[in-house]
């Protein structure tokens, strides 16, 4: 749907190619062992080199959220630290807007960090010797922007994250959630093109975390920033990410949209990893709807309708008009009554006010509706045509 609106081809803002990062002295030997297909624990034992990232490639589109997920030690944080060169990659390319940042000189790198890429940290990384304002304005400060200008811009960001009135409070006075708001405001203050977020909500309590996820999504919608989002919480990754990459042992196991991963996990590891997700928040109606077995035209006479229903062994049938538009539902006993009354067509006994849903609605959002409706829900397209039905059994199977 969104692609139909966005006729422009999506633009790749960040492209990571064959990224590798080894920690240790004897990296050449480690590379050789890796090429010979040795396992990571063997390499560590023989050469003392830790293979943190092993051949990772992915693209991030402008304005989208790319979520990278994995257990601790899977290399996800190292990947994000390579993107702004907090860690220097051992090999590979990191193309930001088409330029390889691995080979940038110092000046270009400062420039990149000051105006293009900024970062939000897991334990906030705030400077306790500066107040909220001082922290938010830090990026502008090192750029040499005058006090008036930078404080005006910082105040804007402080208000954006909902910290009005806290600008001159010391960091120590803030709660965890508020600290991370400061972290986000600081990252946005440079007006960067790319936001790196390294497990930004992991240190928060569950309630604050949900708040912040919502807040970040709405900020992202407002500003249209591109985000690389690291997390170890699969539900968070699926909630935030337009694309999700699952990492294990320094490799990306699978890359795709949340629904793609949920519907066709590439291997057992991914399947197990996805075991804990709430499918109703990932899958939409489209993924579980089926074609109704018994369709009846509005003008059909009762005898035909009853025969049709008997053949298909159902007690309710979906009634459609000439152009496949959905009319309502015909119950078997209503059809029997119509035959008894010798009505020319079933049109007058159709239940017309039937609840219906659209394809792209998340399953989680229709559970209530489905439980109140005695028959399967009708799925309609935007012109009111019947596309399929969703049975309660199908919805229940998603909850398991």
């Amino acid at each position: 749907m969104s692609q139909a609106l966005n006729s422009e081809k999506p633009e790749t803002i960040l492209s990571v190619r064959n990224l590798r990062k080894f920690f240790g002295i004897n990296r050449a030997a480690a590379r050789k062992m890796l090429q010979e297909g040795a396992g990571k624990s063997d390499i560590l034992k023989r050469t003392g080199v830790t293979v943190a990232i092993d051949d990772v490639s992915f693209d991030v589109e402008r304005g989208k959220i790319f979520a990278l997920i994995g257990l601790s030690g899977s290399g996800k944080s190292t990947v994000v630290r390579c993107v702004n060169m907090l860690q220097r990659p051992t090999s590979g390319q990191i193309l930001f807007e088409g330029r390889d940042i691995v080979h940038m000189d110092k000046k270009e790198l400062y420039e990149l960090r000051r105006s293009k890429i900024s970062m939000v940290f897991q334990s906030f990384g705030l400077m306790s010797h500066r107040d909220v304002m001082g922290n938010v304005a830090y990026g502008l400060d090192v750029r040499g922007i005058g006090k008036g200008d930078r404080e005006r811009k910082a105040m804007e960001m402080i208000e954006l994250v909902g910290l009005e009135g806290w600008a001159h409070k010391p960091i120590g006075d803030l709660s965890g959630g508020m600290k991370q708001r400061v972290g986000i405001a600081r990252a946005l203050c440079n007006d960067p093109d790319l936001l790196l977020m390294d497990e930004p909500f992991s240190a928060l309590d569950p309630l604050a975390r949900r708040d912040m996820q919502f807040e970040l999504l709405s900020i992202q919608k407002k500003l249209g920033k591109t985000i690389v989002f690291i997390t170890h919480d699969i539900n968070e990754a699926f909630k935030m990410g337009d694309t999700v990459g699952i990492m294990r042992d320094g490799r990306i196991e699978q890359l795709g949209a949340p629904t793609e991963l949920a519907l066709s996990p590439a291997n057992d590891y991914v399947k197990e990893f996805l075991g804990s997700i709430d499918k109703t928040k990932v899958l939409s109606v489209r993924h579980i709807m089926i074609t109704p077995s018994c369709l009846i035209r509005e003008q059909a006479d009762p005898v035909t309708a009853i025969r049709e229903m008997r053949v298909n062994d159902v007690s309710t049938a979906y009634v459609i008009g000439r152009k496949m538009e959905f009319i309502g539902i015909l119950a078997l006993n209503a059809a029997l009554q119509a035959r008894h009354d010798n009505l020319p067509s079933v049109a007058s006994v159709i239940t017309r006010d039937v609840p219906n849903v659209e394809q792209n609605v998340l399953i989680g959002d229709i559970i209530g509706l489905a439980s109140e409706t005695p028959f399967p829900l009708a799925v309609l397209d935007d012109r009111g045509r019947l596309e399929g039905i969703v049975s309660r059994a199908a919805i229940l199977s998603c909850l398991l």
Partner: protein, 294 residues
């Protein structure tokens, strides 16, 4: 034969001491000009501080100490106690000697901080400097403090200048150590944040690392003052006038009573200096007062 097994043989002993003496003498002869510059500067600083202290009326100094005591502890009792201690030193008849001791301490500490802070930063930033400085600092801290007196006296003869030099060398080590320790142990993500927002190396140092390390660095300042306080007494042995000299004279004459008053005075001054510097840094991490402190 027996001799060889039980006693260290005479023929295997060496005497590098003479060599060291010669080197220092040679050095002193060859660098007379630069040594005299150092000496003149030190003397100039010492007399400046002494004059400055001399201009402050005794009661004002006592009041200032009491007020500072109140400021760091928020208790009038504590302030009053510090004031009373200082008053007692005066009533022992040791006010002038105390000022002399204090001026040596102030000059040595000022020099130790000016030298120790940049060295500490260098040690924190550069692995090679660290590798060199680590054993040197261990060496400097374990050598008995008396030993510093001799080269100081050889290079600057007797008086307050060699006292300042010996005190400086003895007390600079904790400043270097704690500065580098503080900088190195700034929270990792805070440093990363500094880098991630495009700080240059110097910006990172002065905007992030040093301010974050300040509590540790202040502990270094406190330690330096305390060590200088201890050393300055020993420096009486090379003719530095002050409270230490009074103790030295009394000790030589085995006059216990006479040694007691300056001894107590030194303890009082040390307590006051320690509490005032420690108190001013203990309050900082709590937040509210932090901004003014910086």
């Amino acid at each position: 034969m027996n001799e060889w097994i039980l006693k260290f043989p005479q023929s295997l002993t060496i005497n590098p001491g003479e060599l060291v003496d010669n080197v220092i003498r040679q050095f002193s002869r060859n660098h007379r000009a630069s040594l005299s510059v150092i000496k003149n500067t030190t003397v100039w600083m010492l007399s400046g501080i002494e004059n400055l202290l001399g201009m402050v009326p005794w009661w004002l100094l006592i009041l200032l100490t009491a007020w500072a005591g109140y400021k760091v502890s928020r208790k009038w009792k504590v302030g009053g106690l510090y004031g009373a201690m200082l008053f007692l030193v005066g009533s022992f008849g040791l006010w002038a000697l105390m000022l002399e001791t204090l001026s040596i301490v102030i000059v040595s500490v000022a020099l130790a901080l000016a030298l120790g802070f940049p060295l500490g930063v260098l040690v924190a930033m550069n692995r090679h400097v660290e590798t060199v400085m680590q054993p040197v600092m261990d060496f400097m801290q374990t050598i008995p403090s008396f030993v510093y007196l001799i080269p100081a006296a050889m290079l600057f003869s007797v008086g307050k200048t060699p006292a300042v030099m010996a005190t400086l060398i003895y007390s600079v080590v904790p400043m270097i150590r704690l500065t580098s320790h503080g900088i190195r142990h700034v929270e990792k993500e805070v440093v990363e944040a500094g880098i991630a927002f495009g700080s240059t190396r110097l910006q990172l140092l002065f905007n992030v690392q040093v301010p974050q390390a300040l509590p540790t660095i202040m502990t270094g300042v406190n330690q330096t003052i305390m060590m200088a306080m201890g050393m300055v007494v020993t420096c009486a042995l090379i003719g530095a006038n002050g409270l230490g000299m009074e103790i030295l004279v009394a000790t030589n004459r085995t006059e216990m009573g006479r040694a007691l008053m300056p001894g107590i005075s030194i303890v009082f001054i040390a307590i006051i200096l320690d509490r005032l510097t420690q108190g001013s840094l203990a309050r900082k991490p709590l937040g509210e007062d932090r901004r003014e402190a910086l």
